[in-house]
Every structure is written in structure tokens, then in C-alpha cells.
């Protein structure tokens, strides 16, 4: 019987799910994903997590708990230290496997091998070898499995760059036809961490609300690495957080090239990097007063009135300004 390995639908799931799934399957695992976020999952997360953590980490706890309830044999929680040379992922990701092991009762095996390519790309050898051990696979077999999975990741990234959102890209990879989107008259950039903006529950359906209002949504993940690095060139020094760099670079490129009619920044409550990148993006954009900008804060509350009012007012403003020109 294959080992059932759970992947939580949280945090970097939105970047690496197709790669991880394929890699684990090649090692002989059966992959189980936690359910879509619900009030129940978030509540479980808040219950089990330490109070000081940010909203996305609390939510990820809920997804881990959901996998525990699904009675998987192992949970895949790679310790995400660095995914790009000279850059880091937020320190909370680094400590996430430890936080989980300390706080969630009844855990199965946790595969928490580190991914750390900050110094050298070759470190991924160690990662594949250590993950392979859990499946009784040798270093070479594991390395080959990973190499064979990489094309999926490249295809996935390409799909994102073509304008698909993660869940749509995953569906396309699974052989489904992409859904045709309704007519739009506006283009709005939604800038935020992937696990905030793509989770319909946490973002209170932000993206589908915008689409229903006739807006084409663009995110930083729809941009190529080249476009992102173009945007961060304006910054006085290097942004070494990978996700923040992508968000800031994406927002500034979209702003500088007049590619969008408005920019919405989405921040999660208690997120450290968000409070800085949000401010950074806002200052650069307000300096030119060219593109309307709005900041939305997400928290545990489920009252949607606040988000709805702000979105409506923002779109009114964008359309009104365009008419006036």
C-alpha cells in the first residue's frame, strides 16, 4: 500500500503544489490535499496555534489538523528557508514545522526537510535525498524523481504567467479546459501573499468579487521574473524576502508600465513583511498619483461588509476617474 502523504492547502501550496505532488508520487506516495478553507478549519487553526502568529500561519495549522483528521501517514511540511539565491522566506515559515510538532496532538510523521538554496542551488540534492529516505528510495532515484517533476513546475509557472490563477493552472495541468472569463472593462492588480489572495475564504472572495464586477484581475504571480526584477530596480536596496520582492516588484512594474487601472494591496493581520511592503508599495505609487491604490486588511472576522464597501467604492473611483479623463 502506498504511503498517504498530506499537503496542507496553505502557505506555499499555491506556488509548489504541482511540483510537490508529482515528486511525491514519483517516490511512490499517494498525495492527499487538505480541504478548501472553511470557518471550521480556521477555527481549529486558531485553537492550536500560538496567539502571536500571523493569520496565514494560524490558517495553515487548521489545514494540518484537517490532514491529521484524514488519517494520512505523513504530512509534507518542508522547512522553507530559501527558494532563491541570496533571498529568504519569512522566518515564520522556517519555524513552522517546529511550531506544528509542538502544538498539534496526534501528528503522523512530519517530513520537514529543509529547502535552503540561499547559498547554492545544489542544496536541492540534499533535499531530495532526505525526502527519499521516507520512501525507502536512494539518493539517485530521489534526485531523478525530482528532475522528472521539474517540467510540471515549469509548465505551471508558464500557466501563471499566461494569466491563470493557481487553482485554474492546477486544473489545466489536470487536463481540464480553462474557463472563459466574462467581459471586463477594467484591469486591477491584486497584490498580496499568494496564500491570502487565492484563498477564497480568507480573502472573502476578493478575486471573484472583482471578476463579477467586470474586472480583469492581475497578480504578481502572473508576471515573469524579468518583469518583477524590473520593478524592484527602483528600490534603494535589495529586498531579500522572496515573496515581498515579488509583490513589490510586481506592483511597481504594473504601475510604471500603466498596465492596470488600479492596485489593491492585501495584507494579513499580524504579518510582519506585509506591514513593510504595503507601506513601501503605497509610498512609491502615491508619489506619482497616477494609479488609484487601496489597502485591505484581512483578519479572522467573517463580516464581509467592510471589504464589499471598500471594493465598491474603489471600483467607483477607478471608473469615475477614467470617465473624467
Amino acid at each position: 500500500m502506498p504511503i498517504r502523504v498530506g499537503i496542507p492547502r496553505a502557505l506555499l501550496y499555491y506556488y509548489y503544489f504541482p511540483l510537490w505532488q508529482d515528486f511525491l508520487q514519483r517516490l511512490g506516495a499517494e498525495v492527499v490535499v487538505s480541504d478548501l478553507t472553511t470557518k471550521g478549519i480556521l477555527t481549529r487553526g486558531v485553537e492550536h496555534c500560538v496567539d502571536e502568529a500571523c493569520l496565514p500561519i494560524k490558517l495553515a495549522f487548521g489545514h494540518v489538523k484537517n490532514l491529521v483528521d484524514k488519517k494520512v501517514d505523513a504530512i509534507f511540511l518542508p522547512r522553507m528557508v530559501s527558494v532563491a539565491q541570496g533571498e529568504y522566506i519569512c522566518p515564520k515559515f522556517l519555524g513552522f514545522p517546529d511550531m506544528v510538532k509542538q502544538n498539534v496532538p496526534g501528528l503522523p510523521t512530519v517530513i520537514d526537510t529543509a529547502i535552503n538554496v540561499r547559498k547554492k542551488q545544489q542544496d536541492i540534492h540534499r533535499f531530495t535525498r532526505e525526502v527519499g529516505v521516507h520512501f525507502n528510495k536512494g539518493a539517485v532515484k530521489s534526485w531523478l524523481a525530482y528532475q522528472r517533476s521539474l517540467p510540471i513546475h515549469i509548465r505551471y509557472t508558464k500557466l501563471l504567467e499566461q494569466g491563470h490563477l493557481p487553482d485554474e493552472a492546477v486544473a489545466v495541468l489536470a487536463g481540464k479546459k480553462p474557463k472563459a472569463l466574462a467581459e471586463t472593462d477594467l484591469k486591477v492588480a491584486v497584490i498580496g501573499h499568494p496564500y491570502n489572495i487565492y484563498d477564497p475564504f480568507i480573502s472573502m472572495n476578493l478575486i471573484s468579487r472583482l471578476r463579477k464586477s467586470g474586472v480583469k484581475v492581475i497578480t504578481a504571480d502572473n508576471l515573469t521574473e524579468q518583469m518583477v526584477s524590473q520593478g524592484v530596480k527602483r528600490l534603494p536596496k535589495k529586498l531579500f524576502w522572496t515573496l515581498s520582492r515579488r509583490m513589490t516588484g510586481g506592483a511597481l512594474t504594473l504601475h510604471d508600465t500603466n498596465a492596470v487601472d488600479g492596485i489593491i494591496h492585501v495584507a494579513a493581520f499580524a504579518c510582519g513583511p506585509d506591514s513593510m511592503t504595503g507601506e513601501l508599495i503605497e509610498r512609491f505609487i502615491r508619489r506619482d498619483r497616477k494609479v488609484p491604490f487601496m489597502n485591505i486588511n484581512l483578519d479572522e472576522h467573517t463580516g464581509e461588509a467592510g471589504v464589499v464597501t471598500r471594493l465598491e467604492a474603489f471600483l467607483d473611483m477607478v471608473r469615475w476617474r477614467r470617465q473624467a479623463v
Binding site: 470557518k39 478549519i41 472576522h301
Partner: protein, 325 residues
């Protein structure tokens, strides 16, 4: 006589205005919502009917405020708009050339920046109610003075006491401390106004370019102490429009006029809605772990609207039934 109705259903007050075809406000009502939006709107419409000549023809209705959807369904609205747009429309109509709108209501406060008659930027208070009218309301009742006298008393203070305005809870303990120290009431009230203004400008007005003409509206604009505190902090004159406390309703009426200007007949159900029986109820949907609280509105025993479900299952079921009829 022909004209337009504007209805603003806020958390604290419900305001209704009647505006003639030349956009002159003929009648205005300011009622306390008391947590009963539908009953209050019905009462208001009844009162409005008795104040208007018998041959009055309502050409259009607009609703705004946090109860806009509910009221829009009950009254049959032609325009249902968020309060930010409504306030901006009203301010730029009544005070041509306005560049900054400061609005402080019961549970929210906002700033709207207009340039060349178009909204250029806006912000609303975030997760905290510090800096809103209910803060003053609370402190006034704690000091045992009527909210109506607050402003005049605050004006008499000539050495405003420094009170922390960042958080309503801390402001209260700070204020008690100052009372115990022996500061007089007027100076404490003046200090409260300054604290609120400071907090508003730091929180809601953060990073905004406040240029004159400045308009101050919303229920709190009745407080002359607040107006003075704003003028002192900003160093520019602050205007209070004649209809400062019903500006949202004025904006809604203007938006209704625009909505029906393209020759669409009004959806207004007539003043008789005041006599009909409306019943709002709610239930928890157990279709998934989200456990949405679904709200139902029934008119004379017939369900006419449902909302609050995240997936739209209940709302669309009703819409589908309506379409079938």
C-alpha cells in the same frame, strides 16, 4: 411635485431626504436606527409622506449606508451605492471644488480626497472604532453630559488636556486619571476632541494630502469642538455643509437621479411600503463547515430576498425562482 428620495441607513442613524428635480433638498429626516433598520425606514417613509404634498411623484430612489442592500430591497431602489461614493457625490455637489471630505459617523470614519471633482483617494477606519462618533458618545455618557452639549462645552476649554486617543479603552483610563488630578471638565472635553482628531488624522488620514476646501460631515460634524480641533490641527478653515448629517442620503438621491436619467422607470414600491409587514429572519446553513448565517427578508409572508451565504446557494435559488416566474 416630482423628485428623488435618498435613504442612508447607517449603524447609528437612518437619514432620508427628498430632493426636487433641480436637486434642491426639500425635506430631510434624521432618525436613530436603534438596530432596527427596516422598521426605522418604514417609520421614516411614513413621516416623509406626511411632510410632502399629496401629489408628490417619486421619480427615483437611492440607498446607501451599511443597510443599503436591505433597504434597497424593501423600498425598491434604483441606485444602491456604498457610502464612500455617496458622500463624495454629495460633497462635490453642495460644495463645488471641494478637495477633502472628512466624514465621521457612528461606527466608521472616512476621508475622501477629491481632485478636479473626481475621487482621487479614500480611506476608512480599519479594524478599530477609535476615531469615530461612538467614542465621543461613550465618553460623553461617562461624563454625564448630553452629546448635544459636548461641542459647546469643549469650546469653553482654553487649555485642552492631553488625552491618548489611540484606543478608546486607554483614552478612558487616561481621562479618568486626568479627572482625578483635578482638571476641569471643559478642558477635558476639548482634550477629547483633540485626541479624536489626532487619531483620525494619524489613522484614517495617514499619508493623505489634505488640501482646502475641506468639508466636515457626518453626525459628529454637529460638534463645534471637533470642528475647532480640526481647524487647529490642519491650519485651514473647515466648512460644515448645511445638510452635514444627511449627506449620505443627499448623495443617494443624486445617484438615484442619475440612475433613472437614462429613461429607466423607477423601481420604487411607493410610500405604501411603510404599511406593509416585513419580517427578517435568519438561519444557519449546515451545507458545509462554513455554517453561514443566512438572512431572509419576507414581505407579507413571502420571502423576497436572502443573503449572507458565501456560496450563493440560497441567494441564487431565490433568484432562479424569481426568474422562473
Amino acid at each position: 411635485m416630482k423628485g428623488y428620495l435618498g435613504i442612508d441607513v447607517g449603524s447609528v442613524s437612518t437619514n432620508i431626504v427628498f430632493m426636487d428635480e433641480d436637486t434642491h433638498v426639500l425635506e430631510s429626516l434624521y432618525l436613530r436606527t436603534n438596530g432596527q433598520p427596516v422598521v426605522t425606514v418604514q417609520r421614516g417613509l411614513k413621516q416623509m409622506r406626511s411632510q410632502l404634498p399629496a401629489n408628490t411623484l417619486v421619480k427615483g430612489v437611492g440607498t446607501t449606508g451599511s443597510g443599503r442592500q436591505l433597504t434597497g430591497i424593501v423600498a425598491g431602489a434604483d441606485a444602491i451605492k456604498n457610502e464612500i461614493t455617496a458622500h463624495a457625490v454629495a460633497a462635490s455637489h453642495l460644495v463645488p471644488g471641494v478637495q477633502t471630505v472628512l466624514e465621521i459617523g457612528g461606527q466608521d470614519s472616512k476621508i475622501i480626497i477629491l481632485r478636479d471633482g473626481v475621487v482621487a483617494d479614500f480611506a476608512m477606519n480599519t479594524v478599530c472604532a477609535a476615531g469615530t462618533g461612538s467614542f465621543l458618545d461613550q465618553q460623553a455618557s461617562r461624563l454625564n453630559i448630553a452629546i448635544e452639549e459636548f461641542g459647546d462645552l469643549a469650546l469653553k476649554g482654553n487649555a485642552p488636556v492631553r488625552i491618548a486617543g489611540r484606543c478608546a479603552v486607554f483614552a478612558e483610563s487616561d481621562m479618568i486619571h486626568k479627572q482625578q488630578m483635578g482638571f476641569n471638565l471643559e478642558d477635558i472635553l476639548a482634550g477629547l476632541c483633540e485626541a479624536l482628531v489626532r487619531n483620525y488624522l494619524n489613522n484614517v488620514g495617514k499619508g493623505k494630502e489634505i488640501l482646502g476646501p475641506v468639508v466636515f460631515q457626518g453626525g459628529v460634524a454637529a460638534n463645534v469642538g471637533m470642528r475647532k480641533a480640526f481647524e487647529r490641527a490642519l491650519g485651514i478653515e473647515v466648512q460644515i455643509p448645511k445638510y452635514f448629517n444627511v449627506m449620505g442620503a443627499v448623495g443617494a438621491a443624486l445617484l438615484a437621479k442619475e440612475a433613472v436619467s437614462r429613461g429607466v422607470p423607477t423601481r420604487f414600491k411607493g410610500f405604501s411600503v411603510a404599511d406593509r409587514e416585513y419580517k427578517a429572519g435568519s438561519f444557519e446553513c449546515d451545507g458545509c463547515p462554513n455554517l453561514c448565517e443566512v438572512i431572509e427578508m419576507a414581505e407579507s409572508g413571502q420571502v423576497i430576498a436572502r443573503w449572507g451565504d458565501r456560496c450563493g446557494k440560497w441567494a441564487t435559488a431565490l433568484a432562479a425562482r424569481e426568474a422562473a416566474i
